[in-house]
Symmetry: C2
Subunit: 131 residues, 2 copies
């Protein structure tokens, strides 16, 4: 009964259920679990579709891969400078308010805030390598 094709829906569904901020390739992998013959081009196309629709946004990490995200509004990002993985974090309320007002006052459309910290996985890997 939906207006969208099953693959288009699947791409969004995957985006909603993955808690990380996947690259297109990760979304593709995930989609193939339920739709084995979906093509990577379709994933890119539909990510672009949902982006245009305003449902999905791009997140800039720190490697040169695009990462995608749903519901960008109320969180900032914690980025691992080594692997580029991006996690969500709620804004401290007062900070969010400050920044919202700052945007209004200065004509900015939106803002993005990121913090950097080596993720658990990478710091473990570093320990192993050091041995």
């Amino acid at each position: 009964m939906s207006n969208f094709s099953s693959r288009r829906q699947a791409v969004l569904e995957v985006m909603k259920t993955m808690r990380c901020h996947p690259t297109a390739d990760r979304v593709y992998e995930e989609c193939r679990k339920t739709i084995p013959n979906i093509s990577l081009a379709t994933v890119y196309r539909n990510l672009a579709f949902w982006e245009q629709a305003g449902v999905v946004g791009r997140v800039v990490g720190c490697d040169n891969k695009e990462r995608y995200d749903v519901e960008l509004d109320n969180h900032c990002h914690v980025i691992c400078p080594e692997c580029g993985e991006v996690e969500d974090m709620d804004y401290p309320a007062e900070l969010k308010e400050y920044l919202d007002n700052y945007c209004l006052d200065n004509g900015f459309e939106k803002f993005g805030l990121s913090f950097y910290k080596v993720c658990d996985k990478c710091s473990k890997d570093n320990l192993k390598q050091a041995k």
Copy 2:
């Protein structure tokens, strides 16, 4: 008398004199004005060198090109969502202090703050197209 090769110096010099946050390709273009036969690979290599040396940093814009920057410390970025150009802006002092402390308290290495606004060039272009 410098420790660095002339091309290595040139790359840094160009970075310091360009006020925008150029892509590697723009740096290459600029370098060729003084060193016509410098190669793009050398520009990439030396940007990476200066990055490792901690002098140059990467900035994430909104297209999928890497952009480079010197002196990342005391400014945030204003990014044009259409062309990806990145400009510097000083932090409001109180905000900077708040964020610095927030990092210290929570074990983050650093933070990055960006605001989004269509740049003058793009908004003019949009007007022209609309006619």
